[in-house]
């Protein structure tokens, strides 16, 4: 048996052991490996080419939009940006931009037209007039008083009012629960029904004509925002627990000092004007004893820490009773008063800020000329969407 098996396998071994088949096999393997490597590289190069093409189309679209914004009353415009043809069509709410590259590919973008740039401070994690505040926070940018964000009076005049919204309720006792002397102005509580609320408002600004309270609680107050929202508080803002925002929108709290009232630093922490407190505006004390325009993080008896997923823009003083983290832009026009021992900390987390040159911040006066907003890429031509048939097709016979 053994010699016969050796006899059958010997030619095969001789064939495989011969140089030509062996070299042919090696050549095929080398060739195959080279092809696989080359294919991978070409795939990378193709993906890069697409990314390059898209970047070029986006820059061209932006460039054309920036040039078009100077032209008043245009409806449709064709612009050559480098070797790219850009078509801009003005629609009811936004602009539709098509960038056609010379190699034949087209990209679509849309953007809104902005009145101007948002206040620069809204693009900072922390912006303060007093450099001592930046030392306290450990980060941020020193700004001039003239750079402080100003509330747009015309926009707030037509904004939704808190008393018309179910997520806000007037509470006549909450101030007496937390402050010895209570308050003189109306007290609103932001209290969604089930601990989580979608704030449905007609616009993107809510005006609270009084103080706004966010009650103490063990779980954060959760708000769902489909778009950016600014809550303008014509009084003080009292925050006693964390605020979490869900959805694509960003939340900003702004406090304004009502005419006839004053802003002051509550040094003794009693929540009202008393000897030893520091006025934050010229002239004598006047108006409600609790003042207005201030923000209080933590109330008497509050413990733990607070994380507020919002931008904070007070007109008056910022008061801290607990460790506080502000996720959005924090603007401090005067100072930070800490009335606890040992002192608590203020952190500007910079989880998000606005792109002030190209993004709208609701409720604030703008600076500079008109401009297109941030370009948003459209995956397909929105103008080519199938249209609704006006008439039903005739029945088949």
């Amino acid at each position: 048996m053994r010699p016969a098996r050796r006899g059958r396998s010997a030619p095969l071994w001789r064939f495989l052991g011969a140089p030509l088949p062996l070299v042919t096999g090696v050549s095929f393997v080398l060739f195959g490996m080279s092809l696989v490597d080359m294919a991978r590289t070409l795939d990378r190069a193709e993906r890069l080419r697409q990314a390059q093409s898209f970047a070029r189309a986006r820059i061209a679209a932006e460039s054309a939009a920036m040039h078009c914004v100077a032209e008043k009353g245009f409806e449709f415009e064709r612009v050559e940006a480098g070797d790219i043809r850009v078509c801009i069509r003005k629609r009811a709410a936004d602009w539709l931009i098509e960038s056609r590259c010379p190699e034949g590919s087209s990209y679509w973008f849309r953007c809104v037209e902005l009145e101007g740039a948002a206040p620069r401070a809204m693009g900072c994690d922390c912006a303060a007039v007093d450099p001592a505040v930046l030392d306290l926070v450990g980060t941020g940018q020193c700004i001039d008083e003239s750079e402080l964000p100003r509330v747009d009076a015309a926009a707030t005049a037509s904004a939704a009012r808190a008393e018309q919204l179910p997520a806000f309720r007037i509470d006549r006792e909450i101030a007496l629960l937390h402050l010895e002397a209570g308050t003189e102005a109306d007290d609103f509580v932001l209290a969604p029904a089930a601990g989580s609320a979608t704030l449905e408002v007609p616009g993107d600004i809510i005006v609270v004509p009084g103080h706004l309270w966010i009650e103490p609680g063990t779980v954060p107050l959760r708000l769902k925002l489909a778009r950016d929202l600014t809550i303008v508080v014509e009084g003080n803002l009292y925050v006693a627990r964390s605020v979490a925002v869900e959805g694509p929108g960003h939340l900003c709290f702004v406090t304004v000092t009502k005419p006839g009232t004053v802003a002051f630093a509550d040094r003794d922490g009693n929540g009202r004007w008393s000897p030893g407190d520091v006025m934050r505006q010229p002239g004598p004390f006047a108006g409600a004893i609790e003042g207005s325009g201030a923000v209080y993080f933590g109330l008497v008896g509050c413990r733990g820490s607070i994380r507020v997923d919002a931008g904070i823009v007070p007109t008056g003083e910022l008061h801290l009773r607990v460790d506080t983290t502000v996720c959005g832009p924090l603007v401090v026009p005067h100072g930070v008063t800490i009335s606890t021992v040992p002192p608590v900390h203020l952190v500007a987390a910079r989880s998000w800020v606005f792109r002030t040159e190209r993004e709208r911040v609701p409720g604030f006066a703008t600076i500079g000329g008109r401009r297109p907003g941030v370009l948003i890429s459209e995956s397909r031509n929105p103008a080519a969407l199938p249209e609704q048939a006006l008439y039903l097709p005739p029945p088949s016979r």
């Binding site: 011969a18 140089p19 030509l20 062996l22 070299v23 042919t24 090696v26 050549s27 080398l30 060739f31 490996m33 080279s34 092809l35 490597d37 080359m38 590289t41 070409l42 990378r44 190069a45 890069l48 990314a51 390059q52 970047a55 070029r56 820059i59 061209a60 932006e62 460039s63 920036m66 040039h67 914004v69 100077a70 940006a81 480098g82 070797d83 790219i84 902005l114 740039a117 693009g123 792109r355 002030t356 040159e357 190209r358 500079g368 000329g369 008109r370 401009r371 297109p372």
Partner: protein, 101 residues
């Protein structure tokens, strides 16, 4: 005699085939490395471009950063332009002598 010649011819052919396949593989590898290096460089440029575009203020873009973009878009140059809406990054065609038109 014929068998001896056939064996020799087979060896010569095998040697030629091996040399050709090694040379081909080496050439392909060199080409691949060249393309890879170019792709890497363009990828770095794209990453830099994204970082520049993510800045809120284009006036903070340094001229050296714009120079680093040369070659990313064939025949085009990235420039800073001023409009009523502020400063922005635009594209300008390059002339044959390399000067922007």
């Amino acid at each position: 005699m014929i068998l001896l010649h056939a064996v020799r011819l087979e060896r010569v052919l095998a040697g030629l085939l091996l040399t050709a396949s090694l040379a081909g593989a080496y050439s392909l590898r060199r080409e691949r490395l060249t393309v890879d290096a170019l792709v890497d460089r363009r990828q770095e440029q794209l990453t830099l471009l994204h970082s520049i575009e993510s800045r809120d203020r284009p006036d903070t873009v340094a001229p050296t950063e714009l120079v680093a973009m040369v070659g990313l878009f064939p025949g085009l140059q990235l420039v800073r332009e001023q409009s009523p809406g502020g400063m922005f990054l635009g594209l300008r065609s390059l002339g044959t002598d390399g000067e922007s038109q």
